[in-house]
């Protein structure tokens, strides 16, 4: 057993550390310390820096402006960024770079690659994901948004919902039904189209946290070009599923680092609230530490598999189930520690969709309440816990379908 990365990857780690150190102010605490205007400005500058240093798209081949990094180097990169409390991109970059970007790299036409890839990196194209619909969430195959061919264009009618960061995007990759009488997985197509057109309306949804990171998108005779179909007509389901496999930043490896940092803040919170000596609180802290470590070391097993050439499979259902349910527990402990102090929202909301970032002040009540409310959501988005348990039971344990 070897828990260290290869010498090449460790050398790369030092390069990344140098980059991070030289790019950030000496008193940098982590992006979690920034809010509002300051945060928005930092994100623009940071992304530009990543773009200029070829660090925005680590998994893309170099010929398309990517980092061309090995699996280990990609993990090292995201680890170092997690330690330093800096993001690997904007929230939309998960969709633009990892999801549709990698899909275009693998399945796109030469023209699509030339058109979109450089523009995604430069920020000219900002994508969001058009999958779920009001009647198609867990049961995604039930989608109804229709696309009808009209010469060189496809006319789209329907609605998408739960589109992450839709209000910050200018393009969408949408899973639409192109075959008239088709049902379920058949007759679907993946198509790209601009949001800025008369037939498209983007409406943010106010979520339980008070933030509006999800949107509804209405298509009323929206127009897409035939050349912007990714893969073949009718291939949509497999393209769409494949796309979901392109994970952001090897989250199963690096998310535990952020949860570990959150646990440090929870302990600090308990200290501030004067309950750190409580035996009951300490028992729960111990259980959270065990869980964070289990996630972290399970992530090492995943890296081991990737380095050996394996591709992510159904075990990603385990990872998602574990971290989302974990966050419900950890955020609940924070609320328990706060008691009635958790009812007056001081400090600022967290911006992150996983948990608040390194650098967040442990005394910001609004950050804890956001995490608490958002954690419940994380058990639902990205495949509900019940769906994940179905996948584990059927695909891993081999139990029969209902």
């Amino acid at each position: 057993m070897d828990t260290k990365f290869s010498p090449e990857a460790e050398k790369y780690r030092l390069k990344v550390r140098d980059f991070v150190r030289s790019s950030l102010p000496a008193d940098w605490k982590g992006v979690g310390a920034l809010r509002g205007e300051e945060l928005a400005e930092f994100m623009v500058e940071w992304r530009k820096l990543l773009f200029e240093n070829g660090l925005l798209a680590p998994s893309w081949p170099k010929e398309y402006g990517g980092g061309g990094l090995t699996a280990e180097e990609r993990v090292v990169l995201t680890e170092e960024f997690a330690y330093a409390g800096v993001p690997t991109g904007t929230p939309n970059d998960e969709m633009s770079i990892d999801q549709i970007g990698n899909t275009i790299v693998e399945h796109g036409t030469e023209e699509q690659k030339q058109t979109f890839l450089p523009g995604i990196l430069s920020g000219e194209y900002v994508f969001c994901q058009g999958y779920s619909e009001p009647d198609a969430g867990s049961d995604l195959a039930n989608i109804r948004t229709r696309a009808v061919q009209a010469g060189d264009r496809w006319i789209i009618n329907g609605q998408k919902i739960w589109t992450s960061e839709g209000m910050h995007a200018n393009w969408i990759f949408a899973l639409v039904r192109t075959e008239e009488a088709s049902t379920r997985h058949r007759g679907l197509t993946m198509i790209l189209l601009p949001l800025d057109q008369p037939g498209v309306e983007v409406r943010p949804i106010t979520m339980i946290t008070g933030a509006s990171e999800f949107c509804e998108i209405f298509f009323d005779n929206a127009v897409a070009e035939r050349k912007h179909i990714v893969g073949e007509v009718g291939d949509g389901w497999s393209i769409a599923m494949n796309l979901l496999g392109y994970e952001r930043g090897e989250t199963s490896v690096t998310l535990p680092l952020r949860f570990g940092a959150e646990l440090v803040r929870i302990v600090e919170l308990a200290r501030m609230q004067g309950v750190l000596d409580s035996l009951a609180i300490r028992q729960r802290i111990a259980d959270l530490r065990i869980r964070v470590n289990a996630m972290r070391w399970l992530g090492w097993r995943r890296v081991t598999d990737w380095v050996a050439g394996g591709t992510p499979g159904y075990e990603s259902s385990i990872d998602k189930l574990v971290w989302s349910e974990y966050h419900v527990e950890s955020s609940r402990l924070a609320m328990d520690i706060l008691g009635t102090n958790g009812q007056i929202l001081t400090g600022a909301l967290g911006p992150s969709s996983y948990c608040d970032d390194i650098g967040t002040d442990s005394s910001w009540v609004a950050s804890w309440t956001t995490s608490y409310l958002a954690a419940l959501g994380s058990v639902t988005w990205g495949g509900t816990s019940d769906i994940q348990r179905n996948v584990i039971a059927e695909r891993i344990l081999g139990l029969p379908r209902e």
Binding site: V75, Y83, A261, V264, V303, I358, T360, R389
Partner: protein
């Protein structure tokens, strides 16, 4: 990064599993447990001859294989999964690690060599491995040669086949680890909750002993023994958790009710899926804890063993409960071996240290490690980053 079992470990696992499937298949276990000796002596003999299993960690110069704790962990997991009654598991999980940790000496060497040969079947005092270490009422008096032990030793893990006992006692106010020959002592079989792991109490009146260690030397050895006991428990738990769930999953694929295979019902499916996840996490914690025994202190999380023991034992108890539930009525009977897993899980969860105590230790270490007092303390902690500087 290669955080997975090595090819050697996988070969060892395979060899042991194959041996156990043949030598003591699960269907025979309830019969063995209910028999008078409560063990099958031929399994010990075959384990000696075919695998050198009792001597796995005995030093090579004493006739053993000189394997490390991580390799022993592989064996302990398999023994836990197979629910093998008798002295094999406590020998490799408790007795040999304790003996290896004791100061060198003639008695120690004789015992270790005898274990490797298969002629010595050790039985160990539970108190040796338990934290907090408690001073027993019994004691050895009369000096350290021709010394005699007087008093009652409450719980010794062993059965009919045990030949040599290792006991925690006192010499005056000093702790002492002593060897007692089985044939010198009066033993009384105890009625244990776990029928697959027999215990007896010991009644001594000036019974001759050999002192293996006393005072600080004893304390040092016992510290090591306790930590190895945590590993032992975690290994038994991971093996038992995985095997009991496997039994339930297989049953759920075969059994029909309401016109369907019961494994297709979502409620059952979800219980088994959730348990599978807990088992995977427990296995992962054990992999790390096992690995941590192979690197110098300071290069790994200092409470790795405590964490693995807590995680694995919680998983085991829940797995046994879930599995019995899946099997329905038959799971609650002696007709099926699953009850043995439930009883083992119940027992091992409390042994060697209370779960609440272990959590308290883990929490204290967590809180102390934050002395850097910033989220970036992570970057300075070698413990969770696999040794990167």
């Amino acid at each position: 990064m290669h955080f997975e079992y090595s090819a050697e470990h996988r070969d060892l696992q395979s060899a042991i599993r194959t041996f156990l499937d043949r030598a003591a298949p699960l269907a025979t276990i309830p019969l063995i447990v209910q028999s008078d000796p409560g063990e099958d002596a031929s399994v010990w003999a075959a384990a000696v001859q075919q695998l050198g299993l009792p001597g796995l960690e005995v030093p090579e110069e004493l006739g053993g294989s000189g394997a490390d704790a991580a390799s022993v962990a592989i064996a302990m997991i398999e023994l836990g999964a197979a629910m093998i009654p008798g002295p094999l598991a406590p020998c490799i999980g408790l007795a040999v690690p304790l003996l290896n940790a004791l100061p060198e000496g003639e008695t120690r060497a004789t015992l270790l060599a005898g274990i490797a040969e298969g002629t010595v079947v050790p039985a160990v005092d539970l108190a040796l491995f338990t934290a907090p270490l408690l001073a027993p009422a019994h004691q050895v008096a009369g000096g350290s040669s021709g010394a005699g032990l007087t008093g009652a030793v409450a719980r010794v893990i062993g059965g009919a086949s045990a030949t040599d006992l290792i006991v925690l006692t006192r010499i005056g106010n000093e702790p002492a680890v002593v060897h007692v020959r089985r044939d010198y002592a009066t033993t009384t079989a105890l009625n244990t909750l776990d029928p697959a792991r027999r215990e007896f109490s010991l009644n001594c009146t000036d019974t001759p002993v050999s002192v293996l260690a006393r005072g600080n030397a004893a304390l040092d050895s016992l510290e090591v023994a306790h930590r190895r006991a945590l590993l032992f428990a975690a290994c038994e738990a991971v093996g038992g958790a995985e095997r009991s769930l496997e039994i339930a999953v297989q049953y759920a694929k075969d059994r029909r009710a309401f016109g369907k295979v019961i494994g297709s019902f979502q409620a059952l499916k979800h219980r088994m899926a959730a348990q599978y996840v807990e088992n995977e996490l427990a296995r992962t914690m054990l992999m790390y804890a096992s690995w941590s025994t192979t690197v110098p202190a300071g290069e790994s999380d200092p409470t790795a063993l405590e964490q693995a023991k807590v995680a694995a034992c919680e998983a085991y108890l829940e797995a046994a409960r879930v599995s019995i539930g899946i099997l329905g009525g038959i799971g609650h009977t002696w007709e099926h071996p699953l009850h043995l897993y439930l009883k083992r899980a119940t027992v091992v969860r409390e042994q060697f240290a209370r779960p609440a105590e272990l959590r308290a230790v883990i929490a204290a270490a967590e809180i102390t490690s934050h002395s850097a007092a910033t989220g970036l303390a992570l970057a300075t902690s070698a413990a969770t980053t696999g040794g990167h500087a």
